[in-house]
Symmetry: C2
Subunit: 336 residues, 2 copies
């Protein structure tokens, strides 16, 4: 691995000259510059990043803390990963992956290692230990997700409470008075998975306000039998359900549609179906009205904010940015 000394020796100049040629921070005689360039190219020289970092230059690496849980859905995760990484790349930043279950220790370790310029947080829970640790670090932290302890970090998220309210308002406007929220795994709600809880609770609250009955059923699984059991329970508790909001995934929703079909219920004539907080259902063969996650939007924004902070353009730690979702109509929600 060629170092700056090797290049200097080969070009017959001092190492500072090599450094200045590489950085372009000083005007250099054409002849010298050419010699240095030739030597650098010949030796395949690139400055050692560690040495630059020691001098206080940015590492051009962002840490991405994304703890893995039992119920972690790899495919949804990947979308966020990629979105963040792609955006970071546009700014010349690489991503260092941290996926410990307990992300907070990890954070301290990486922050003091000096290997990254900032930290991105994924899979944020309502009360996130990492947000508290962030306060003690002298590195900027931007969360995709909105913890309750959000001072000390920057947060970007969809406005899930608004999404929950809008879903029920829309239902109300269309004449629905009995709504079922078919949720995902119970444990995800108990662990405080941010968006699930916010959406559900805001929907329930709005239901109370408007006089819309909102029944919540977490799922025990996504298979046909699980779905049938869930529907049996729900319909026996409230036979008047006319709108089902699925806060789940493609497989589950497919099975819900199948189950309704089997019961002779037409969509949307008899029952309306809406997917909320879901990913990329648009590419599936079976279309459903959707209040989708917008991972690209949130992740892009998170990286943009990180860049603004790193460039010293903002100084409002604790700022929370909530983006609106976009309703995708696909013909499965109708008036009742």
């Amino acid at each position: 691995m060629a170092g700056i000394k090797d290049v200097a020796a080969l070009a017959g100049v001092s190492i500072s000259t090599v450094s200045y040629v590489m950085s372009g921070k000083r005007s250099i005689g054409e002849a010298t510059k050419a010699k240095v360039m030739a030597a650098a190219k010949k030796l395949n020289y690139m400055p050692n990043a560690q040495a630059r970092n020691l001098r206080g230059e940015p590492t051009k690496v962002l840490a991405l803390s994304s703890p893995i849980h039992e119920y972690t859905d790899y495919s949804n995760y990947a979308v966020f990963f990629f979105a963040l990484a792609m955006r970071a790349k546009r700014y010349g930043y690489d991503i260092l992956l941290l996926m410990h279950e307990y992300g907070d220790q990890e954070l301290t370790r990486i922050a003091s290692s000096g290997m990254v310029d900032g930290i991105l947080l994924l899979d944020v829970v309502m009360c996130d230990a990492r947000a508290d640790v962030a306060r003690t670090l002298d590195l900027p932290v931007v969360a995709v997700g909105y913890p309750s302890n959000s001072d000390g970090i920057y947060s970007v998220d969809l406005d899930f409470e608004r999404m929950g309210r809008e879903a029920i308002e829309k239902a109300y406007a269309l004449g629905h008075r009995h709504v079922l929220i078919a949720g995902t795994d119970q444990s995800a709600y108990e662990d405080g998975s941010n968006y699930l809880v916010r959406f559900r609770d805001a929907a329930a609250k709005k239901g109370d306000d408007l006089g819309v009955s909102v029944l919540f059923k977490p799922s025990t699984g996504f298979g046909r039998d699980d779905v049938n059991l869930m529907l049996d329970e729900a319909l026996s508790e409230d036979p008047d359900i006319s709108l089902i909001i699925c806060q789940t995934n493609a497989v589950h929703i497919t099975n819900v549609l199948n189950a309704l079909h089997m019961r002779g219920l037409r969509v949307p004539e008899d029952v309306s179906v809406l997917a909320a907080c879901t990913y990329g259902l648009g590419s599936l063969p079976r279309k459903v009205d959707e209040l989708p996650m917008l991972p690209n939007e949130t992740c892009s924004r998170a990286v943009d904010i990180m860049m603004e902070v790193l460039q010293g353009k903002r100084n409002d730690v604790g700022h929370v940015e909530l983006l609106p979702s976009r309703y995708q109509a696909r013909g499965t929600v109708a008036a009742h």
Copy 2:
């Protein structure tokens, strides 16, 4: 951010003493050690990784090169990501993500930056430019996948050629003489996606040897209509097809099963269905016989080999390790 000087000052000792206490590479008086530990804890001190690296210590970071293509399936990717990252974590290594479309320039940059101890390659194509670059680096490179230019790196992969042969051998043994391979997107084959090509070509070759007709149909999409069109074409070209090998994904396979059902064809009585080179179909409601990818096995092995190389335990660059797949019988393949 507290440095070694701060700790030394607070503890009233020299920085070398602090260093030795932290590393444990020298015996230190109990009193001094206690003072240093207390100071370090109080200041939340952790050694700066950049500085250590400059001194030649390992960075404990592995680069993961995983170029993104148009047809990249995020969810499958994620499985490999996670498997590699989890295994690396067991050895105390973090992962630095590189996802440029042209991974080779990226590789040179990272290698000379000194930020990583080694490089892992994902999404390897038949003739992979990155493998050639690897030769010029003085960092170990381990590929998950088996390029044709595999000297200069270490490679780990499933034995897809063997998998292809075994699929046809099994078909032959069960009396099938007309087999359809329903493939994924044509472009994936054209780009030389390693495993797809190896499996298909080995299957075709074995078909020739045994007198089994092997028809290959790439897919134009995974939806119901795409599948029906593909089946129409295939069955008109060879009406005697009795086994369909799907080299695709869950959505596609589901639609193949549906399409067969619609045509009044029973599985496996009339047509057998086998999934090959697929991911985690076991968790889907609809079970299918499968020759699955084993991402955990391959990725674990890749990281293990990387560690062996880093520890100087092996010196056989160019080594290729091919792991056998495991046939998962689930009742959709029968005698004909």
